[in-house]
Every structure is written in structure tokens, then in C-alpha cells.
Symmetry: D2
Subunit: 238 residues, 4 copies
Amino acid sequence: MSEAIFRSDMTVELVKASASDADVIWAARVSTAGEQSLEEVGEDPARSAGLINYLARERHGSPFEHTSMTFFVSAPIFVFREFMRHRIASYNEESGRYRELQPVFYVPSKERKLIQVGKTGAYTFEDGTQEQFDITVKAMKESYLFTYERYQKMLEAGVAREVARAVLPVALYSSMYVTMNARALMNFLSLRTSRDGSHFPSYPQREIEMVAEKMEEHFATLMPLTHGAFQKSGRIAP
Amino acid sequence: MSEAIFRSDMTVELVKASASDADVIWAARVSTAGEQSLEEVGEDPARSAGLINYLARERHGSPFEHTSMTFFVSAPIFVFREFMRHRIASYNEESGRYRELQPVFYVPSKERKLIQVGKTGAYTFEDGTQEQFDITVKAMKESYLFTYERYQKMLEAGVAREVARAVLPVALYSSMYVTMNARALMNFLSLRTSRDGSHFPSYPQREIEMVAEKMEEHFATLMPLTHGAFQKSGRIAP
Amino acid sequence: MSEAIFRSDMTVELVKASASDADVIWAARVSTAGEQSLEEVGEDPARSAGLINYLARERHGSPFEHTSMTFFVSAPIFVFREFMRHRIASYNEESGRYRELQPVFYVPSKERKLIQVGKTGAYTFEDGTQEQFDITVKAMKESYLFTYERYQKMLEAGVAREVARAVLPVALYSSMYVTMNARALMNFLSLRTSRDGSHFPSYPQREIEMVAEKMEEHFATLMPLTHGAFQKSGRIAP
Amino acid sequence: MSEAIFRSDMTVELVKASASDADVIWAARVSTAGEQSLEEVGEDPARSAGLINYLARERHGSPFEHTSMTFFVSAPIFVFREFMRHRIASYNEESGRYRELQPVFYVPSKERKLIQVGKTGAYTFEDGTQEQFDITVKAMKESYLFTYERYQKMLEAGVAREVARAVLPVALYSSMYVTMNARALMNFLSLRTSRDGSHFPSYPQREIEMVAEKMEEHFATLMPLTHGAFQKSGRIAP
């Protein structure tokens, strides 16, 4: 049996992208410029920023769709469960039917706020005590090792992977490719990050927010004007 | 702690439906009859069956979309993981963030074929031995009880539900509402059931197929002509 | 040749609906109540309104999707061109390939503001003069009769309908069925109506707004709490 | 007034693409190879072709989605009307609200079969006579010039573009950007081209087929293995 690995981090790799602010500009300008819209791109940067801000503010979303970003994400199953509720995206994930799953599991870091205060719909999270942290990490590690051992035992007995994996926890790390356009990504970010300056408050689980934050960094690098416009318009997807 | 429950079945309840063969007919006939299409419905049952067969056979899919079926499904998380990859559908599921999850877990029944033979992309499944079955059930029950106890321990220590649930297995039962139109449902059935007479072979995991079979029964009752056309055209969604 | 008809109105008929505020409630409550969520519906109307307002305000959109409304719409082609850009919907329309199209054409009523003032992205519309109105109606009627006569001439010469229809104007009335869920409908309304109290301003063409207003009336009747919540939250779709 | 232009051709320009056969391979292999899937690409070309054929044949569609192709298309409005019924795509089109539309119109070439034989659902098209062709071209050109003159007259009188354009025919050329992934494109091609070797027959209008054929050439160049697999599997989108 491979040695179990306990992780607290999420990783997001930008695999490929066809996504720039210029893509938004020519897509938007076709409405007024027709066949000349490609030529006009980049002629006037300040006007470009103005146009993108206008589109974001007034919710003209379609010009943001002619873009594509593919990420390779490693995160626990419970994160992917939330992620895949976003339907305007393309997914391919590691499969517990076709592959023996590796013993890599999530445990919270010391920074993870462990205690939930308030009622449904208005939770806040606070730091746990050292004791609460220790109880959590111990309970998790024990569980992971116990169940992974039984997973192995079933596999050794010849039981199919898709049956044996039933015992594995939602904290198991999985990996997937996800491809999104900038509009869908902004919608994802608006719901899966919690930020000051958001017009609508969001209360994402911290672990998916960690993934979203890394995706946002890539997005901001690829499309700085669009990202700026997203911020300025209260982090609402156009 | 509630007593753990071990289940082998899936349940599917039809919550509501606005779906009949007549819906397909008026939607299709608008292309030739315009505003008269509603009146013509039901004038000639044989012609109706012929039209629906024609639409299914020639892949005119849109008339099948003016229908809506809502199901309440109870199944393990690993089934919902596959289910939610179907994006032309609406979902709301029980939440481990907002609710203390109940100790209800999946164990295979004696009918579940436990052994996988062949290579990726061409598996067949065969019965396991009594010993393999016993090993499986034992490994599962031990795992479920062990991890659920630790889940409880973390909750008792005041740890947030969304953190503590990390240890719970993908075999845990969850429940959700799913709403689909008939076209999306036929696509789901074509991929998630394995049937003789299918033009394209599918190799669904048995547990999601159990859910799909129950959904198909409701569909066949609500829309018998459409279901018949689906069968006749090789179980390919139009 | 049938006598040409000149119309200024849009018609929207509610063909069928499976859509009520209660649908939103049970869909939302499954996250906390699991399998009991259906039973709780209707137990406390005030709490129901509160829940729906909360969902709309905080952009929990998925519970609004378990609903379905089918409309039969008659409107000019230029309205349908805009309408069908809304992709979360199902459409079936009268076909110029399969049917001889009837001579029914749009002309503006006296209420239609004819003059556009300001620049791209910030237009306002103002009343035209009587002369402008007369020029418009005359130019339109002449064009419609002239081209429909040529359409007929081609058909009489044995030319295929799909070829001959090329001459027909985008003002020609067509008819279609469209099915949407409440979430998609709210998105449509937010973009295709212009109302005080909207968080984001929209500048729809008046003719599609006339269609949207009629759809909104049906929606408000079917789902009064949801419609109220849509209004309260600035007419942004959750 | 600009001189009117009569065209019989459709143009499709590939604006940008992030689409290769390798994209399909790593996306598919993640299910069995997890984080190593990117490294394995290109190691064995024959195995790659085999995998892509397998995916197409067995309808594993999701790996084809991590691709993006943007086309700039010029075609008549009646073509775009059909095109935009494809909902898994992103569109931005020239706008008759924001722009004075140019007098460019479709007339059939001599190759266009003008006569429709047979009944609904089983049409075939045949060549027209010279007289039918002459009648058609004359009726079209007369209509286009007549209505465009009235469009100009309304604009000169100060009437808003969005009102005046009502008289313009569906044969008017428009232009748009459309972005699709390879899976959506294969679905488009399966329905909008008519080819021997198709498992399901399609009867597209010739003018949209002309657009589809040009898109298919670009697709075949960008993703030759995928295009070959599409052909081999009866031109059914996976």
C-alpha cells in the first residue's frame, strides 16, 4: 500500500488559454462595426478599458464568452461536488471506476476556521481551539487510514474498484480538467469567493474558495481589463 | 447517535410532471401548422404515433423539450457524482453544510455483480463468491461505523458540519430533486442504462442504472408513445 | 393571395405551466430538511415569503428551476431573433421551409416612440412627428405588399418555399412555443424589460418588451411570491 | 445610398482556435492516469487515433469539449436564424439597432437546386429551369432594391434604425462571431450537412450547409483524428 498523504492545499494549474481582453473587444464591436471589428482592436487602449467596463456594468455578457481557459485542479471530492454544480463548463475527472484511487486526503490547516456561528443563511466562521483542531485532525487521519485499508483489502480480494471505492471519504483528493469561458468563470467566482466590494454576499465553503482564488489569479493575469471591470461592477458576472 | 442503516436500494419518486405525448405533437406541428397546432392534437392517435416515431428517428429533438418531470431521488453520493455530470437538468440536494447528515449507507445486495473482468472500455461484471461478498459487506460496514462515529465526535466537539463531513464516505445516502425535460431524460437513459437493442452500448455503474431504471418506468407511463419511439430508434436521444 | 394584415400588437398565450411558489420552497428546503422537504411546504405562508425573498436576494438560483412555463408567442421575426439568443429555453417555431408563410406584418402603433436620441449604449427614444409616423407606415406597407407579391410569384412558378421566402421582411409575424423555467424567465425579464427599480438598467427594443410584459403578467399570477421577490431584489435574476 | 451587392456565397473565417487532437487525449486519459495525463500525450500516435475513435464510437463526448474555435461568418439572416437555434455556442452579431445595415443580399447561384419535390420530412431538391431561375433572381433583386430604398427613406426622415429595419428581408447579409467547442461543432455538422455515410439522414437548407461545410474544413485541419473519428462513427456527435 502506498503511504497515505495528508494535504491542506488545493492546486490549480492553467493548462491552456485562449482568452484576452482583445477577444471581448472585437466580439462586442461587431454589433456596431460588422466586419471591421477585428481591425479596430488595440487601436486605443483607454477606449478598450472603457468599453469593457461598460459591458460589465450593463450586463452585456455575450462578448465575454469567446474565450476559453482550461485548468487542471486537484482538490477533495467534496470540493468537486460543489464545483460541478456549475453547468456552463466542461469537465473530465479521474475515475474511481477505471483507476485505483491513491491515498491522498484533506486535513484542514491551522488557518482553517473550524467553528460555525449563527444560523442557516448567515453563518460566520471562527477559529477553533487547539483542542478542536487536534480532535479534528486525529478523527480525520484515523478515518482515512481505516477506510483506505479496507479499500485495499477489497481490491486484494478481487472486488471491482467501482464497488470497493464506496468506503472512501469525500476528503479524498481527485483531479480534473475544467474548461470555462470568462463569463462562466466570473459567475463561478462571484458565488465561490467571499470578498469585500461584492454587491451580493457569498458564503462559499473555504476549500472551494481556495480553488477559486487560484483560478482568479490566472484570470486576472490573462484578462486584466476584464478582471478589473468585474471588480468595479461589484463582482457580478455580466 | 442514530442507529446506522444499511441499504442496497435506490428510490425514485415522481414529484410532479408536465409531460405528455401530446406536448410533443403540438410543439412539432407548429412548424407546419402555425397557430393551429394546438387544435390538431389528438385528432388522430395513429398519426400521432407516426409523427413521434419520425421525430425520434430523424433526430428532431426540440419538440421533446416542452415537458418537465421532477423526481425525488435517494441514492449514495457516488451515484449523485455521476448524475450531476448531466448538465441539462436542475438539481437541489441535501447539504452537508446546512444539515447533520444521517447514518444511512450503501451496501451491495447479493445480486450486485462484484467482479470486473476485461480491460478499460470493455468491462463485464460477474458474480462474486460468497467470501468476496462477505469481505465486501464487512469492510463497508466497519468503515461506515468507524467514520460516522468520528463525524459525531467532531460535531460534539463543536466543529462545523462542513468540516466534519470530510470523513464521510461516498456511500452515504443523500437525496435530491432533479427536474429534466424528456429530451434530456432520454439522453440520460441512453448513457445510464445498458440494454439490448441500444445502437450504442453503454456501461453504466449498476447503482446509477438502478436509479435510471426507476426514472424510465415513470417516463414510460407518462409518455408511452415517446418512450416507444425511443426504444424503436435504438435508445438514442433525439 | 390572402389579404395582407398589418398588426401592431404581440400576443402571448400561456399554454401550460407547472410552476408555483411552493415548488421553490420544497426545492430550497431539501438542503436542510432532506426527505421531509415536501411535507413542510405551505405550513407557514409568511415563512415561505421570507425564504423566497432570501433566495432571490442572495442569488440562490437553483430552487427556482424546478418549474416550467410554456407560452405560445406571435411576434415579428425581428423579435424572435432577439428572443432566441436566450439559450436556457426550448423553442419550436413555425417554419418557412415547411409552410407557406402568411402575409401578416408589423407596423408600429402611434404609441411607439420612433426617434432615437443619444449615442450607442445610452439611447433614449422619443415620439416622432405625425409626418415621421406617416412616412414609416407608408414605407412599411409598400414594402410588405411589394415583397409578398414577389414571394407569391415565385411560389406560383414552382420555386421552393425555402428559397422564395428570402424576400420576406423581418417584420413578418411568426409564431412559436417557448418553454422556460422561472429562473431563466427572470433573466429574460431583467434584460428585456425596462423598469424603474431595476438595479441594472436595460434598453430592450420596445417590441420584445411588449412580449416580455405579457409573459411577466402570467409569471406574476402563477408565482406571486417569486415575482415579488424578483421586484424587491432589483429585478436581477437569482 | 451605397450600391447594392448581390451575393451567392457564404464566408467563414477562422478567427482563433485552441483545439487539437491532443486536447482530447489528455482530457480522456485523466480518468485512468490522473495527474500524469498531460505527460502521456503524443507518446504514441497510433494509440491516440485508437483512443479518439473509441471515444467517438462509444459516445464519450466530454473529452471533446476542452477545445474552442471562433469563426467569423457572413451569411443571410435566414441562415443565422437556423444557426442560433444551436444553444451550446456563443454568439455576437452585427446589430440593426446600433448600425445602419448595408445593402448586401443573397441571390441563389445557378447551382442552387430551386425545386422541392416530395412531402414534408422527405423532400428532395431538383434543378429549376432557366425560367424559374430568372423569375427568382428578378423577384429577389426587385424586392431588395425596393425595400432598401424605403429603409433609407425612413432613416433620412429621422426614424430610428431599429424601427426602419423592419422592412429589410431575411436575405440581408449579416455577420457574426461564433465560438464552439468540438463536441458542439460535431453536433452542428451532423444536423446541418447532408452526407453519405451519415447514420442519421439530415436535410439542411443548402445555404446553412454551405456555411457548415466551410466550418468543417477548418475543423478537419485543426483536429484531423477527431474529424476522422466523426466520419467513421456515422457523423453522429459523441
